[in-house]
Symmetry: C2
Subunit: 133 residues, 2 copies
DNA sequence: GTAAACCTTCGAGTCAGCTAGAAGGTCAAG
DNA sequence: CTTGACCTTCTAGCTGACTCGAAGGTTTAC
């Protein structure tokens, strides 16, 4: 397949495909005229990358997973995926906890701002955030 | 106060103070020798900035809030803060929802990976992510 | 008097994941 | 034969919030 066909099938822009190749996430051979030539398996790879990206894994982690998957057995893949996903799950749960805290602070700030004494006089600065400092 | 004193009291690095000044988040006068001279109020301002940053407001929003706070009355401050915090709350709640979804997907992926048939034979690639593609 | 500690500006570098543009080669249709 | 669609490489830019280094001036302590 030529690069435009891969784009058509995967939705991944040609520039991004070249970028991924630069990072060794995907590979291609060359035709006689120098054009990139992709094996159909690249589509599976791109789909894997897409899913992994949705899990907020970065490209370096994804490359690592692809490398292990490619060179290893299912056992290896499983052994590789498990800690990565576990770690990512921990991070996501962490983010959720922090955002929950932030949500509470924001909600109470809104409360504070809403009940802040109205006055046409200039008042002391930062009053809206005073309870949070 | 000189810049190092502000750093000592606030914990904000001197380079960052200069950067903030460049963005008009804080101000300073100059001594005869050209050194920056800070009024004590800068510490309140930095504390405000710190709190606002914890709420994931970006520096542009923070500058805007500081400007309104400085030039206006409490009413203005309140009127300014309310929509910003409301919007931020909406964003945070959005992020929480998305991360919750991701958490569920990650947990079920982990489940899938854990129960993936063990084999010393090489197996079909991407099996661990197959259910998610 | 000199060394250390402080201050200045300016420009560039960092992170990730692309994206865009220039300058040029290749190929199929009309 | 030329137009237009496709392909190539290379370089540079984008986002935000810093951070660092060079090259130099100032002040303080001994």
């Amino acid at each position: 397949m030529r690069i435009s066909e891969v784009t058509a099938h995967s939705g991944v822009p040609a520039t991004t495909l070249r970028y991924y190749e630069q990072l060794d996430l995907i590979r291609s051979t060359r035709t006689t005229n120098g054009y990139r030539d992709y094996a159909p398996e690249v589509l599976e790879r791109l789909s894997f990358i897409g899913v992994a990206k949705k899990m907020d894994l970065d490209l370096e982690q994804i490359k690592w997973l692809l490398d292990v998957t490619e060179t290893g057995t299912c056992t290896n893949t499983r052994d590789a995926l498990h800690p990565v996903l576990t770690e990512r799950l921990r991070e996501v749960e962490d983010s959720i906890r922090k955002l929950e805290e932030l949500r509470v602070v924001l909600a109470s700030s809104l409360e504070h701002v809403a009940t802040c004494p109205d006055s046409s006089e200039p008042c002391q600065s930062e009053c809206a955030f005073k309870s949070l400092a």
